[in-house]
């Protein structure tokens, strides 16, 4: 057990820091509106710049244009990007989910065509998994694809799709066999979002913004060569993609929460209530210490997981533990914040409404990317070996 970074890990970190210091955009990239094309272009430029600097797809093997970074280096990467407050990575779904899926399952032609375009931000990707009637039960999806000549014809609706408004391509799960058991009749298609019959509608969240979308597919023709993997083998591919989704996030989440906690601590030192500095109230002190300790333990468990992945290559269902941990921690976190800061924290113009937004946004944490209930089922069944409950 040695928690110091190794020499090569240190070098990785220092190289990245140096590059970021040199290349980070001078002013933050911010959207003027939900549909600001300048914003998305700037993000694409940033992704391209990262690619050119060798900092896109860091975990991808070198043969596919990546850097071959270890899981620990990937953690460092996420942490530093967050610490430098680097712009949002618009290629994140392509890099983290689609790319690895194409590398594992794609044809040579698919690899050659798609992989470079992901790294240099030619293509932004989204993933079309969830449907209105299949939330936790993803495999019950109803979007249908029927082979007609050389094309699949796709009809159906997807929901909760990030980046759908700007995406060039979509990894779409479709039902290709209605008679097979639900897991056995699903295929995965690579769909050009500019195809005729694709439409996207933004979905506003209770926290105000529209980070997710609904997608509608009406007689969309998808060339058969854009099937990834085998026909009706889409479910297995999905599982791999979903596993990748849960790993690796921890390091950037940690920094995000850490920044919030630092901001809170700053406020606690400045503000008074009833004549007492917030930071001097023993009850507030207990609360903020609890927040701090839970957050630090999150980092530690994330690092333990990365350290394990570094040896075993693939993330396992233990990712569910981290998902539950951070999502529920954040919900306690925002409530404690609201209690500590008191009634002013509910105001939209207090600290730019960031506490209000954090409070509301946190309710989605235990729903998105697999609800806490589903994650607990996964842990019970796949980690603890308990019998299936549903």
């Amino acid at each position: 057990m040695d928690l110091n970074l190794t020499e090569s890990e240190l070098k990785f970190r220092d190289d990245l820091r140096a590059w970021l210091k040199e290349n980070l955009p001078e002013k933050p990239i911010k959207a003027e509106s939900d549909n600001d094309p300048e914003y998305w272009n700037a993000l694409r430029d940033w992704q391209k710049q990262m690619f050119e600097g060798g900092w896109a797809g860091v975990t991808w093997p070198k043969e596919f244009g990546g850097r071959g970074a270890t899981s620990i280096e990937a953690g460092i990467y996420m942490e530093e990007m967050a610490a430098f407050d680097a712009p949002e990575r618009v290629g994140t779904i392509g890099e983290g989910l689609i790319g690895p899926t194409i590398m594992a399952e794609g044809s040579d032609e698919q690899k050659e065509f798609f992989l470079p375009r992901i790294l240099n931000a030619t293509d932004i990707w989204c993933q079309g998994f969830s449907e209105p009637n299949s939330g936790s039960d993803v495999a019950s999806l109803a979007t249908k694809a029927v082979l007609d000549g050389d094309d699949f014809v796709v009809n159906g609706q997807k929901i909760w799709t990030s980046y759908a408004k700007v995406a060039d391509w979509c990894l779409l799960l479709v039902r290709t066999d209605n008679d097979a058991p639900k897991h056995k009749g699903i295929s995965a298609l690579l769909v050009d979002m500019k195809s005729e019959g694709v439409s996207v509608r933004p979905l506003r969240q209770m926290s105000g913004e529209s980070a997710f979308n609904e997608m509608f597919f009406t007689n969309v023709r998808v060339p058969a060569k854009n099937l990834i993997g085998k026909l009706n083998d889409g479910w297995r591919i999905t599982i791999t993609t979903l596993m990748n989704e849960r790993a690796n996030l921890g390091s950037s989440i940690y920094i995000m929460f850490k920044n919030n906690l630092d901001k809170l601590l700053g406020r606690m030192k400045e503000l008074k209530r009833g004549g007492i500095r917030l930071a001097d109230d023993p009850i507030n002190r207990q609360k903020v210490a609890q927040m701090y300790l839970e957050l630090e333990i999150f980092k530690l468990t994330t690092n333990r997981a990365l350290s394990k992945i570094a040896k075993n290559a693939t993330p396992g269902p233990e990712g569910s533990i981290l998902k539950i941990y951070w999502s529920e921690m954040n919900q306690r976190f925002v409530q404690s914040t609201m209690e500590i800061l008191g009634d002013q924290a509910q105001l939209q113009d207090f600290d730019d409404g960031s506490w209000v937004h954090a409070y509301l946004r946190s309710r989605g944490n235990t729903i998105e990317a697999g609800t806490s209930e589903i994650q607990r089922n996964i842990i019970a069944e796949r980690v603890l070996g308990l019998p299936r409950s549903y």
Binding site: S130, P132, N133, S134, G135, S136, D137, S140, I159, W160, L203, R204, Q205, M206, G208, K272, R273, G274, G275, I283, Q331, Q335, M338, E339, G342, D343, Q344, Q346, L347, Q348, D349, V356, Y359, L360, R363, G364, T366, I367, E368, T371, S372, E373, R376, S389, Y390
Partner: protein, 369 residues
């Protein structure tokens, strides 16, 4: 001992539920949310016609002279329909006037408030103060007409539509409650929108504003305390009505939403959350109605009963809201679904009239000392 509502209280309950279902369905709520003041004066008039703006005020001042239990009944329905309105502000202010010993100002102010012809609010919180009036520091200076006020108040409910502001300040050590007309010179207000879309908060600044005195010293303290307690009952009942809506809506969803071939309400993970929601809802109901009864009866347990209810209901409504959203899944997290309106309102109610931590400390004082 009878914990049930009386026959007339049940009639009031039915009447107010029917009224608000008809007059303020959720589409209307959303319309009011998007309006400047979150207030519909035509609707306010109809509410006043029912007598609910003067529910507990004396008959001599055009009120119905009903009990605080009746006030809780109507407030619960208001919470249940998520009504945007200056009901909380006006009820607080009229209770404050009514609790004071100032017969003249009662006569001047109460009738039009009771009849819904005017709206009032209370400006209590200073920059640094909390819901304990002892922490108010804004200082006033005596003048011929009463006092002159300078300073700022935050989180003033519905100041934008209030005709009268009751301002809590201090002349030396003495608490003073001053009556400020909306037209007073030196008065400035700015909306400070909160998380709760159905309520309007303001920052109100006073620059040498002349005001009459409603009450001062011990009398002001007593009147303020009672009015805050009445406000807390209103907030608890509002939370209760909201919880009830969330529970009912969530249980219905859990019965109909299918996943993995079964209604999600057949999974224990969902069932048990629903059961806890019911438990909290029932507990909040016990606490709220008991507090209303005890405060009305001037029962010695009234002080603690109000604190108990406010601390409990604030936490319960939040937890019920959390589960409600969680069980709905993604759809419960959208702007389109109405859950968030209740969830956000629960947060503003949590703070109003003192948060749980405040009330626990007050309660500790009562039981330790």
């Amino acid at each position: 001992m009878n914990f049930d509502l009386s026959k007339t209280q049940k009639m009031l309950q039915d009447a107010s539920r029917t009224f608000f279902q008809r007059e303020c369905p959720i589409a209307k709520v959303r319309e009011l949310i998007d309006s400047e003041h979150g207030h519909d004066s035509a609707l306010w008039t109809r509410i006043a016609e029912q007598g609910w703006t003067g529910l507990t005020l004396p008959e001599e001042h055009e009120g119905l002279a009903l009990s605080l239990v009746d006030l809780a009944v109507v407030s619960e329905e208001i919470g249940h329909c998520c009504l945007p309105s200056p009901f909380v502000a006006t009820t607080w202010a009229s209770s404050l006037i009514d609790s004071s010993g100032n017969a003249e100002l009662k006569k001047t102010l109460l009738p039009s408030l009771a009849l819904g012809e005017s709206i009032a609010t209370v400006a209590l919180l200073d920059e640094d103060s909390d819901w304990n009036p002892a922490t108010v520091t804004m200082s006033a200076t005596s003048s011929d007409a009463g006092v002159v006020l300078s300073g700022s108040k935050r989180l003033v409910l519905d100041a934008g539509v209030a005709d009268t502001l009751l301002v809590v300040a201090r002349i030396q050590d003495d608490l003073v409650i001053a009556v400020v007309d909306k037209t007073a010179s030196g008065l400035r207000m700015e909306p400070t929108p909160g998380m709760d879309l159905t309520r309007r908060y303001y920052q109100v600044d006073f620059e040498n504003v002349s005001a009459e005195i409603l009450a001062s010293g011990a009398e002001a303290e007593a009147a303020l305390k009672r009015s805050i307690q009445i406000g807390a009952i209103v907030a608890c009942a509002d939370l209760l009505g909201g919880m009830e809506w969330v529970l009912k809506t969530t249980v219905e969803y859990a019965r109909s939403r299918q996943q993995f071939g079964k209604a999600i309400g057949s999974y224990q993970a969902v069932q048990h959350q629903c059961s806890d929601m019911l438990l909290m809802n029932e507990s909040a109901r016990s606490a709220t109605y008991y507090a209303a009864w005890a405060l009305h009866e001037n029962d010695p347990a009234g002080d603690e009963a109000v604190g108990i209810a406010k601390a409990y209901c604030s936490e319960a409504a939040r937890l019920v809201g959390n589960s409600g959203i969680q069980i709905h899944g993604g759809i419960g997290f959208t702007w389109e679904h109405d859950l968030h309106l209740y969830y956000k309102r629960a947060k503003s109610n949590e703070y109003l009239f003192g948060d749980p931590s405040h009330h626990r400390e007050q309660l500790a004082q009562l039981i330790i000392n």
